[in-house]
């Protein structure tokens, strides 16, 4: 994956570059909003990471201009402003996701993966398959091999999201937003309990798990 980082704080940009390199992301850095306009049009980039407040040209204004020119590259906004209103403004300006500083690298990477995949994913699907785990989106039923799995509505939504992002790391925050549709940070990891219940229903062989915990990041569903 190639990413263009537009960030004026050189140190933040540097560690972002080094950190994402560990996840296999190739990063170029531009420090000024105005200087970013030219390279941002380059279709080689899979994703743009734009700081909310930039010298020269404000981050949101940069995104608006790019979208106005028809640049469709996914954009993740980085910001120290955590208020929900700011988040909404960022998404309205054309951002695909909004990550608040200080960010956890793994969280940022998971979100980058998600927005890049969303763009490349085929349109409507009626059926999701990961290994022998099958989710029928029309009948809203799940099965592992020949065995039907009974899920409650919330578990169904969790599994659907995990299967849509199969092979990717999905963070707890992403799951909360997708399944409960609230942007919030619980004091304790209540979500883990939901995941462990889902595990009990979908896992067959404890030595070959499908839904694994990625330490410090979240979860990943993949074929065993």
């Amino acid at each position: 994956m190639r990413a263009l980082v537009v960030e004026d704080d050189r140190e933040v940009a540097n560690y972002l570059r080094l950190g994402l390199k560990e996840f296999g992301v190739v990063v170029d850095v531009v420090a000024d909003g105005r200087d970013a306009q030219e390279p941002a049009r380059d279709p080689h980039y899979d994703v743009l990471i734009v700081d909310r407040m930039l010298p020269g040209l404000d981050g949101l204004e940069l995104i608006r201009r790019l979208r106005g020119e028809g640049v469709a590259t996914p954009v993740v906004i980085l910001s120290a402003l955590s208020h929900v209103d700011e988040r909404i403004r960022g998404l309205k300006a054309g951002g695909d996701d909004y990550v608040v500083k200080p960010y956890v690298l793994a969280e940022l990477h998971a979100r980058l993966e998600a927005v890049v995949r969303r763009r490349s994913a085929p349109g409507r699907r009626t059926r999701l398959e990961v290994g022998d785990l099958v989710l029928d989106l029309i009948t809203r039923s799940a099965a592992r091999g020949d065995e039907a799995i009974h899920l409650n509505p919330r578990e169904y939504m969790l599994l659907e999201y995990l299967m849509r992002h199969a092979g990717q790391v999905v963070t707890r925050t992403m799951l909360r937003e997708a399944v409960w549709d609230y942007h919030f940070h619980p004091q304790t990891n209540t979500l883990d309990v939901h995941i462990s219940r889902l595990r009990q229903k979908i896992e067959k062989d404890p030595d070959k798990p499908m839904l694994i915990t990625v330490r410090g990041a979240g979860y990943c569903l993949r074929a065993p």
């Binding site: 140190e11 120290a80 208020h83 929900v84 500083k101 609230y182 940070h185």
Partner: protein, 462 residues
């Protein structure tokens, strides 16, 4: 809280003022009464002494045998007046214009107060007598009929009585008026103090412009409140500035540490130490974030609220926490009324409610019960999250809403000490009210939202 009527300062003030008015009034009347009486008595005595002098002069040369006639002539002359005469000794003893009914006749120079009758069949009346030994020998008793003085006295007593009663009525009226005026000012102070206690720090004591002691008191209190508000704002700014200024460098440190951590092989001692450092930094950053969000909520832009179905939200809330409760053998139940719509920022409110419920779950032992209930109460919606855990002692409940207050019992649990302060700020941001109650046993967190008529006002405000 309203004190019982008889214990209220207003009642006692009214009573004391009334009693004071009454005592002063009665004392005044009594003074007038006794003074008038003594003046009248002196006048009677002076009159009798003058008459005595005149009698001594007039009877100086009178033949003892003709004294009776002279006395009769004098009685005749004084007819219609209040003067009394009677010869007590001598040949013409008993010549006079009165008879004693009760008491005795005085000797020479003596005084006596008696009851007399001036004519047969008349009712007795009071009189004051003085004995005069005439130069010719016999004792003449001079006297004064006190009927007039008695009548005056009884008029006086009636006046005192009626005046006194009038005084009581006036005293009670004046007392309650004065009491009410004073109390109205005090009630104004009380109301203002109550609002200040509830966090309206910009509230001030009312000044009516009468330039009296109350206005002076209010002005002094307001000066003190200004100082307190300035100090609080200064403290708050310092905390907020620290939080804001330290966040950026700490975020950079965090970035560096995290990069080092992920570039090291998982499971090594250094990697574990770095992971712990990152976790500690996260807690510091969480605390700063909480402080800054309180600051934003209290002094930031006016709320952007939209209608939210609180019933659906409590459903989501319970749904999110249900597996955790089950894991801990706790019973989490939900009781709710249908269609309770409030104006809210749904993400912010859900965050606050999840903090409350998370607290309840953490502080309730295994096997405990947590009940979430949502009720419409007239113009408001009451959301109550009650547990049967150890609860919070009544005297600490107000305190735990403040920043950084953690009770000793919960120091071992993770948290920033800002949880409830943030919740309180969010709740107020919604024009709602947060209260901590005993649940007998346990704790009940009650959030009261305005809806219906009050909601219309809120919309107008924003």
């Amino acid at each position: 809280m309203r004190p019982e009527r008889w214990r209220s300062a207003s009642f006692r003030l009214t009573l004391s003022i009334a009693v004071l008015y009454m005592v002063v009034g009665w004392a005044l009347l009594a003074f007038v009464h006794f003074n008038t009486r003594s003046i009248m008595e002196r006048r009677v005595d002076l009159g009798l002494e003058a008459e005595r002098a005149r009698v001594l002069a007039d009877f100086a040369g009178v033949d003892p045998a003709r004294i009776g006639g002279a006395v009769l002539a004098r009685i005749q002359y004084e007819r219609g007046s209040a003067r009394l005469y009677r010869l007590a000794t001598g040949i013409d003893e008993n010549v006079g214009n009165f008879t004693v009914v009760e008491g005795r006749l005085p000797g020479e120079g003596e005084w006596s107060d008696v009851s007399v009758r001036r004519a047969a069949g008349e009712r007795p009346r009071h009189a004051r007598l003085n004995g005069v030994a005439l130069p010719a020998g016999p004792l003449l008793v001079l006297g004064r009929d006190l009927t007039e003085e008695d009548e005056f006295g009884s008029v006086m007593r009636e006046t005192v009585l009626v005046g006194g009663l009038l005084m009581v009525v006036l005293a009670v009226a004046a007392g309650s008026f004065t009491g009410r005026v004073v109390m109205r000012r005090l009630a104004g102070f009380n109301a203002a103090a109550g609002r200040i206690l509830h966090g309206h720090l910009d509230e001030r004591m009312p000044i009516v412009g009468s330039d009296d002691e109350f206005d002076h008191l209010a002005a002094h209190l307001n000066d003190a409140l200004d100082r307190i508000e300035e100090l609080m704002a200064a403290t708050r700014h310092v905390t907020d500035d620290i939080a804001h200024d330290l966040r950026s460098p700490l975020s950079r440190v965090r970035g560096r540490l995290e990069y080092l951590q992920i570039s090291l092989p998982e499971g090594s001692a250094t990697e574990a130490a770095l992971a712990d450092s990152v976790a500690d930094l996260d807690q510091i950053l969480d605390t700063f974030e909480a402080l800054l969000s309180i600051a934003r909520l209290e002094h930031g832009t006016p709320p952007h609220l939209a209608p939210v179905d609180l019933g659906a939200m409590t459903g989501d809330l319970v749904d999110y926490f249900a597996p955790t409760a089950e894991e801990r053998n706790q019973t989490l139940s939900l009781v709710r009324d249908e269609a309770v719509i409030v104006e809210a920022d749904r993400n912010l409110l859900f965050q606050a409610l999840s903090n409350i419920l998370d607290n309840a779950l953490r502080h309730t032992p295994a096997g405990g019960n947590i009940e979430v209930s949502l009720r419409r109460r007239g113009e408001s919606a009451v959301l109550r999250i009650a547990d049967d855990g150890p609860g919070i002692p009544a005297e600490d409940r107000e305190r735990v809403l403040r920043r950084f207050v953690r009770l000793d019992e919960s120091r071992h649990l993770p948290g920033t000490g800002l949880g409830l302060a943030v919740v309180d700020a969010v709740v107020r941001h919604h024009g709602a009210e947060l209260a901590l109650d005993g649940a007998d046993p346990g704790l009940a967190v009650v959030v009261t939202f305005p809806c219906g008529a009050q909601r219309a006002n809120l919309t107008k405000l924003s």
